[in-house]
Subunit: 412 residues, 2 copies
Amino acid sequence: MKLSQNFVKTAKQVGHEEVAKNAQLLIRGGFLDKGMAGIYSYLPMGIRVISKIKNIVNDEMLNLGSQEILMSSIQNKEIWEKTDRWSDENVDIWFKSKLKNGADIGLAWSHEEPITQMVKSHISSYKDLPVYVHQFQNKMRNEIRAKSGIMRCREFIMKDMYSYSEDENQHMEFYNKVIDVYNKIYSKLGIGDITYVTSASGGVFTDKFSHEFQTICDAGEDNIYVHNDGKIALNEEIFDDETLLKMGFKKEEFTKQKTAEVGNIFTFGVGKCEELDLFFIDQNSNKKGVYLGSYGIGISRLMGVIVEIFSDEKGIVWPENIAPYKYVIIPIGNKGISKSEEIYDSMLKKGIEVVLDDRKESPGFKLKDADLIGYPYQIVVSDKTMENSENVVELIKRSSGEKLLLDWTTIN
Amino acid sequence: MKLSQNFVKTAKQVGHEEVAKNAQLLIRGGFLDKGMAGIYSYLPMGIRVISKIKNIVNDEMLNLGSQEILMSSIQNKEIWEKTDRWSDENVDIWFKSKLKNGADIGLAWSHEEPITQMVKSHISSYKDLPVYVHQFQNKMRNEIRAKSGIMRCREFIMKDMYSYSEDENQHMEFYNKVIDVYNKIYSKLGIGDITYVTSASGGVFTDKFSHEFQTICDAGEDNIYVHNDGKIALNEEIFDDETLLKMGFKKEEFTKQKTAEVGNIFTFGVGKCEELDLFFIDQNSNKKGVYLGSYGIGISRLMGVIVEIFSDEKGIVWPENIAPYKYVIIPIGNKGISKSEEIYDSMLKKGIEVVLDDRKESPGFKLKDADLIGYPYQIVVSDKTMENSENVVELIKRSSGEKLLLDWTTIN
């Protein structure tokens, strides 16, 4: 894209009511627009980042054998009543509305119940199991407070996956695979080394248990205790003498860290499917409840966490895998401008993700904007860089500030 | 995909409350799941069709110079009050809810107001215009009746585009381009020759005018009058003596046709932007209201219309461009099964969109299923087809029933 064609303008400041660093930077950089507290819209650069995170996650879900679906946001009260999750006392984040005939509807904050209802038409025998489905869907949650930017929104994009298995064995095989795959995803997103799997509640031997994926992040809302060997971490709720004794650890071997949850996985056991009347006939012709698991990754939340972690006083520093574009070309002077067009066209033809900053602004403005937006590499083209050879440009690495003169035809 | 890996099962029948042919076929074929009246979810085959329609539309929007964004579903009451479209008397399809603090919110049925609010940060001078943005977004509309399957839903996927221009000239240039591009889209979707642009209300010389794109379809909710020369059509509302006199036509030169609306485009003039306080400074330093247009295509509705048109007593007959997969391979007998695996692997490697029906079902069942799902081509592999040469298969064209023996290595 040529930036002169981009309708979005970056901003020096945002309204003082926006207190979260991630939202401040994303609004200033032109990735997001704020509708109201906890409600954001995605501008073109923001969509690109979201799409890249989605694609990384989707590829791994498909590799796991999951199939993509898309459930509605409008949900049926009756289904949620069956599992006693309709009332505001039990679930206090519902947005609810009414059809013209007065019937109550809910707006999706999760999908265990509707997806279980949907798969009922497709599961009757052990031969039909396991079933894995996932979606990228807008969730709406009526949060009391929404001050963490896109780390906790009233409307957000989530990947949720659901597994339907014959029994605990079949379930656990998949559940453990998901842990590995989630870790792989966080590595691809550049946060692998600061993300921990933590057992969230209960033990693995109870019917309902869960794990969280927690990333070290100052803006996070959680705390975990990381063992000094750097491999094990415990959630705050279970960091007690009893757990430590069971595991053979001492309190002083752990360091408390502020973290943001970037994923969670749940085991529901057979209870929920039984409540929703989803049974199957096993190999011995016995009727049994289906074993349910659910697996979430907040896509927009991840974008927020990544910005909190990968940013400095100048702006965002995107990991290459999810940067909106890898390169920005910044021309200086007339010779720089015509050369830049040539470089831009050639890079586009090679399929490289590049923008050309052809706006009528000063080089200083453009460099500052590039720092704010956080392209991994800036390519400066000027009389000075072309002094000795007309193919020489200056490549500035956003993360380190490192500068390098090189032949632009070698960039890929 | 190997169909043994697909969790979705086709169905012989659907509940009698589903009266629309498009939804009946799409549910039976395993594309859709019905949550409640007017609320559907998309299963894997359904997602594929939706994605293909989206991609065709998105490519053309990007070619027009529009940028993709994604607005929130949750909307601010205050913005809609400014244009007097919040009250249920003026807009009778709102779904509304409340934040925890009691503040009213609306669920997106359209986006003119919020998008105009959003672009205010980015438009101040004539140099910033025109601006074109579009999105693929879930719209929610509280319809009283919802009996047309996915042709009229309470929640549906829509492409909506918005244009912000300096004046009527700049606006009309784009508006007319959109008409051409919409026609191109309908041609790509296989309904070009039965889709008409109709002037919907007012004339082109009033401030507010609009056009509709109407496709001849028995299940449609509209009527148009098509001129015998096949090039001009008029909406029912403006098919009167006055209009005919102006245009120099006679009533008897027109034939009434039942149609479904597959797109609409609106000119708002400067009124809405003025109400929302979006002005710009023109070349002569005068403050002016921005000229607004909006351009919709119902993506899920199109899928429904296409199924209504391209289907027969056996099932759906997808146009090639948007079929979930182009080919299904149906093996018969042991030799057919092993050969099919070879053909499937080879076609996948070539990047051909193909499924292998490796389910433990009879060939008759699989052929019926293939007819129902509507793959454009069925490839039958059996002892019989391989009689003379082991590379010979039978290719059945879904639309005509035509059968052809040919060497599978020539298929692409």
